[in-house]
Amino acid sequence: MSYTLATLLGVLAALAVDLAVLRTRLVTRRVWWVAYAIVAFFQLVTNGVLTGRRIVVYNPEAILGLRIVYAPAEDLLFGFAMVLLTLSTWVWLGRRGIQNEPRAGRRADRPGERTVP
């Protein structure tokens, strides 16, 4: 199996986890897409270093050959699947009441006070 096909299956599997298995439905939420856009931007920067400096090298037979900032386009799908699986699990755990507190943007000692104006 090529890396191309593997990443497509990876994205489908991550979507299945988010929508059907854990039912966190993150891909229907604005918070996911904004967070993912930020992560994807920094992925282009750091993965560009990993691939541009040839720290990681790809077999041309395993990829389509379309490259974005030195990296195979497939890497974006790989990253999407990895981040979605992680965040779906993270939200699922919170939904089950596992360390839902202290919430983001709140001081642990003063939970009524926001750190963001």
């Binding site: 890396y3 939420r29 939200v91 699922w92 202290p102 926001r114």
Partner: protein, 108 residues
């Protein structure tokens, strides 16, 4: 050169640390939930990595690695990658929540 890959990971870790320290996203503070969230991703993607290295999809420049390998030939940097990058993603996600207040589905 040996520290090239490790330096990229350090950049990601240090570059997001301010979200924990100053924005107070409280992700590392909730370390048990973080570890539980990272575990399935790390297992699945390390298995993928192992299979991809075995199938010859990608390889690493040994001159840019510290030289410690896990069973199966996975460089230690690659193992760290599957912990550091997902943790950075959780930090970014919680930072967006903290700033914008948008719901994510786990609100009490």
């Amino acid at each position: 050169m040996r520290f090239s890959y490790l330096a990229v990971l350090a950049f990601c870790f240090l570059g997001t640390l301010w979200l924990e320290l100053f924005l107070k996203v409280n992700v590392y503070r909730r370390w048990r939930r973080l570890l539980l969230a990272l575990a399935p991703t790390a297992l699945v993607f390390l298995a993928w990595d192992l299979a991809a290295i075995g199938a010859g999809h990608w390889a690493f420049d040994p001159r840019q690695l510290v030289g410690i390998a896990l069973p199966g030939g996975i460089p230690v940097e690659e193992f760290l990658f599957f912990l550091v990058i997902p943790a950075c993603a959780v930090l970014a996600f919680e930072a967006v929540r903290a700033v914008r207040g948008w719901p994510a589905g786990d609100e009490p």
